[in-house]
């Protein structure tokens, strides 16, 4: 003991106060700064660098001045907002109505409708788009062919390669489904007693809706709208496929086009990305403000639902919503699968219209096999490393008093608000221009990093909310009973968080497997995953192969999503109180 005391006396007390936990948290923070903040700083710096005399780089506004003259630059920004506004005007009210009808009326078949939207939410955009192309292509689209045959028109009325086609594709993809999933809990958790109190005080059902329900739910509406706008702005792959034939570019496809040029127009792409970020800043701050205000509907344990009786409207309303649900899930998948068995995509009139040849070639095609392996490895690595990383960040944020955890929260939240294409561009800068990381370019590691960042916000948030729910005293009870930190983590924390960690891993895998926008510019022929292979097939016009790849992606992500949902259902809501 005396020696210990002597050694203690030698160590300055200020140093003794630095605990290993603090060191670990600082390492985590440093890595997050390197992965999130550093690439963005590089991007901003790059936009202000210009060629100086003798192959040097000097600071200047040259790029910012000349970029606006680049062909299609300004229209792409305008198109972005035009597209977002047109989509949200339709999708937002529709999602509110559907979520309300499912949560607070006596609509039949609620489970079925719920399932439709979850499936729509998890279906990757590109494979679904393939289904729509088969239906609405101006030449061979089945719907157009039907109109021509039935009404003797010269050409069909639909053209998916148009502004309205793009809006349709968005609404049929995630646009409505994501909002529905976001809004349903708010509607469900609204305490019916609030409405009943208003009715007893003398308000009509409509008056109650106006004076009580809408004001109470307003924060939920606003944050949903805000997040939807951000996500909508980030969209990439639908425009990538449907835009160019019509010469319609949004900022993300324009950046992609600039980078595809030979030589790549990095500077101009960077300016465009930053310009969009500046436009998005108000939205990003608004979201931060809204989510910090935390004025969401309070969840009570014993609330009553005030179920509105639809009477005669029950079945018509159900039919409408169910038809929409079918349209955005079953229909495109059927046509996608159909497409894989066609000799020539969309040409039903051929003598040998049907074949299994594409499955045979595609399944033995070396690039295809490599892409499948790439997707599996990339997804698995992102899921495993991601879960570990997200748990660390969440633990520091929830369970420690680490000084800089506010900054850590911000860094883990930021990637969700950055368009994938900009995050990808920033990472491209890092992997091309920083000596330390250059050797990694072209390897799967680059894509794994991109995918982990792509899911970091959702992952950390999920783990955090479950950790908060867990209650610190469950751990403390174990300490008191004699358990060390490690034992407690193994016997108490891990079993209780286990289900959510599995769910987060699966969700990260799904997001990685379907991701296009973040990795599009980081992919080379060596590390190309399935999703990018599908893009390349569509761009090359080999729709049949693209459809096969699409089905594979749907199967892969579908299974994972299903397991994630089952795990979430089984443990997430019943196990924890």
């Amino acid at each position: 003991m005396a020696e210990v005391g002597a050694i203690r006396a030698l160590v300055p007390s200020a140093l003794r106060r630095i605990r290993p936990g603090t060191v670990g948290a600082t390492v985590v923070l440093f890595v997050m700064l390197m992965l999130v903040a550093y690439p963005l700083v590089l991007l901003i710096e790059a936009s202000f660098l210009v060629e100086g005399p003798g192959n040097t780089k000097v600071m200047g506004l040259e790029l910012w001045r000349t970029a606006w003259g680049a062909p299609g630059m300004l229209p792409s920004i305008l198109n972005t907002f035009k597209r977002v506004i047109a989509t949200e005007i339709i999708a937002f009210p529709a999602a509110i109505l559907i979520a309300w009808a499912v949560a607070r009326t006596d609509l039949p078949g609620k489970k079925l409708i719920d399932t439709f939207f979850w499936v729509a939410f998890f279906l990757p955009a590109l494979p679904v788009l393939m289904g729509w192309i088969l239906l609405f292509d101006p030449q061979f689209g089945l719907a157009n062919q039907a109109f021509v045959a039935l009404f003797g028109m010269e050409e069909g009325p639909f053209n998916i390669y148009s502004f309205s086609g793009i809006i349709f594709a968005h609404i049929a993809a995630r646009s409505v489904a994501a909002k529905y999933i976001f809004l349903s809990p708010a509607f469900r958790n609204l305490d019916g007693a609030m409405e009943e109190a208003s009715r007893i005080a003398g308000a009509s059902p409509l008056g109650t809706l106006r004076r009580i329900v809408i004001p109470v739910l307003m924060p939920a509406f606003l944050i949903t709208l805000c997040i939807s706008l951000i996500h909508s702005l980030e969209s990439f792959e639908i425009e990538l496929i449907l835009g160019p034939p019509n010469n319609f570019y949004v900022f993300s496809t324009k950046i992609y086009q600039f980078i595809q040029e030979d030589p790549p127009m990095f500077g101009i792409a960077t300016v465009l990305g930053l310009a969009i970020l500046v436009c998005m800043l108000p939205l990003i701050f608004w979201q931060q403000y809204l989510s910090q205000r935390r004025s969401f509907v309070t969840v009570t344990s014993s609330f009553s639902l005030n179920i509105l009786r639809l009477r005669g409207w029950r079945w018509p309303v159900f039919a409408t919503i169910a038809a929409f649900g079918t349209l955005i899930t079953v229909v495109p998948v059927i046509f996608l699968v159909m497409g894989t068995f066609m000799s020539l995509y969309g040409h039903f009139g051929l003598a040998d219209a049907w074949t299994i040849e594409h499955w045979e070639t595609v399944l033995t095609d070396p690039p295809m096999v490599r892409a499948t392996a790439n997707t599996l490895m990339m997804g698995a690595a992102a899921a495993l490393i991601g879960v570990f990383w997200y748990s660390l960040v969440a633990y520091i944020s929830v369970r420690t008093r680490y000084r800089a955890r506010g900054l850590l929260d911000f860094l883990s939240w930021l990637p969700a608000s950055l368009p994938g294409i900009i995050l990808g561009l920033a990472l491209l800068w890092v992997f091309l221009n920083v000596d330390l990381f250059q050797p990694l370019y072209g390897t799967l590691a680059v894509l794994v990093v991109a995918c982990i960042l792509n899911s970091v916000s959702t992952g950390v948030q999920l783990v955090k909310s479950n950790m908060v729910q867990l209650g610190r005293d469950l751990e403390e009870a174990s300490f008191i009973a004699g358990g060390s930190w490690a034992y407690t983590f193994r016997r108490i924390v891990l079993p209780l968080l286990g289900p959510v960690l599995i769910a987060v891993a699966l969700l990260t895998f799904v997001a990685a497997a379907r991701n296009v926008s973040t990795i599009a510019m980081l992919v080379t022929s060596e590390n190309r995953p399935l999703a990018m292979l599908q893009v390349d097939h569509i761009v090359d016009g080999t729709f049949e192969a693209a459809a096969v790849v699409g089905v594979l992606i749907v199967l892969l992500t579908g299974c994972m999503a299903l397991v994630a949902r089952l795990v979430g259902r089984r443990f997430g809501f019943s196990g924890l109180r």
């Binding site: 209650g471 005293d473 174990s478 004699g482 358990g483 034992y487 196990g575």
Partner: protein, 369 residues
């Protein structure tokens, strides 16, 4: 079992804890005797829970010393901090902290498995402890399926099964309904007498502290106001805070008219009602001094009960009568001042009646303003 003079078992000396600039615990010293039930009583924010967590090792004080049975658990000076898992204490949390993924038996076996007890021994101890807390046969049930009262018994079994040196209870009954709360109090007291474990109980509920504890420390703003056995605290509070926090009392603004020996003659109210007091609690008592007089409602004799007294009587008007089952609560007014007293069920008072009151002079205490 209680009282001063016994060998100190758990000692806190000059313990302080700061949250920012807020002194949650302020130079607090306590000596707790082996085998006693010791209550930390006070309003929310008085530092009682922080003190308990410091004893448990879940929080670390900023200064001071905590010792258990001669061993130092915490010492700011020597930089000693024994982590909670090495303190061999048991604790029942306010939320019970029942692990939702374990069965009742697994929960209770948890601390024993940590202590490398052989499985056969664990099974026997778990069954015995569950029997003790009245949960015999519940071993295989998943803990979350139990009711609140049963969950509390599980938490108690988990805390007792390894025979801890000290059992810490953090507001253990606050989540139970009134009937169950009273039942659990009796059971806990019986269990403690049977097991003999030292218990430290944190509560804001005075009736809980009074009925369960052998000794009580009343805490206010991070400091100890008074330590004593329940009857002593109730009858001889040393500060206005303790007087008002424990039990009910009516306070009157009074003026001293005469002093002789250990007694003072005082006057209160518009009509100048004159009473004698022999319970002087400090302050300069001299004729003309303005003081506060306090009296417990049950010390005031009402109506027929007051008739036999020949001094310290006065008249009051019944303003409001509340029948509370075993008696009437009388809200009275005398000389413009409000008083609270109890009358027996047989008294048959009516609102508006004028009644005789008697306050024994030793029941009327005088305090500095």
């Amino acid at each position: 079992m209680s009282g001063a003079g016994a060998k100190p078992f758990l000692g806190l000396a000059h313990v302080s804890k700061l949250f920012g600039t807020f002194r949650a615990v302020d130079d607090l010293s306590l000596d707790i005797v082996e085998g006693e039930v010791f209550a930390l009583l006070g309003p929310s924010g008085c530092g009682k829970s922080t003190t308990l967590r410091q004893i448990a090792g879940l929080d670390s004080p900023d200064s001071g010393t905590i010792t258990l049975n001669g061993n130092v658990l915490y010492s700011a000076e020597d930089d000693i901090f024994v982590p909670p898992q090495k303190r061999n204490m048991g604790m029942v949390f306010q939320s019970y902290a029942i692990w939702p993924h374990l069965t009742v038996a697994e929960t209770v076996a948890y601390p024993l498995a940590l202590r490398k007890v052989p499985q056969a021994e664990i099974d026997r101890a778990v069954a015995e402890t569950l029997e003790q807390v009245g949960l015999g046969g519940f071993g295989d049930r998943p803990s979350p399926t139990l009711s609140g009262g049963q969950q509390q018994r599980v938490a108690l079994a988990r805390a007792l099964v390894y025979k801890p040196d000290v059992l810490l209870l953090d507001e253990p009954f606050s989540n139970l309904d009134v009937k169950l709360r009273e039942q659990m109090r009796v059971e806990l007291k019986q269990l403690q007498r049977q097991v003999g474990v030292t218990v430290i109980l944190v509560t804001h509920d005075q009736s809980e502290a009074l009925s369960l504890a052998d000794r009580i420390a009343v805490l206010n703003a991070g400091r100890v106001e008074q330590v004593g056995d329940p009857v002593d605290l109730y009858e001889n509070p040393v500060s206005p805070f303790v007087r008002d926090f424990i039990g009910l009392s009516t306070r009157l603004d009074v003026e001293v008219t005469a002093v002789h020996g250990g007694e003072a003659q005082i006057r209160f109210g518009a009509g100048g009602i004159s009473l004698a007091s022999s319970a002087l609690r400090g302050g300069a008592i001299s004729p003309g001094a303005r003081l506060t007089a306090a009296v417990r409602p049950e010390s005031i004799l009402v109506g027929s009960a007051a008739r036999s007294a020949d001094h310290n009587t006065f008249k009051a008007t019944v303003e409001t009568l509340l029948f509370v089952g075993d008696k009437f609560e009388c809200h009275l007014r005398a000389g413009g001042d409000a008083l609270l007293a109890y009358s027996s069920r047989g008294e048959r008072l009516r609102e508006g009646d004028t009644v005789n009151l008697h306050i024994p002079k030793e029941a009327l205490s005088l305090w500095p303003k």
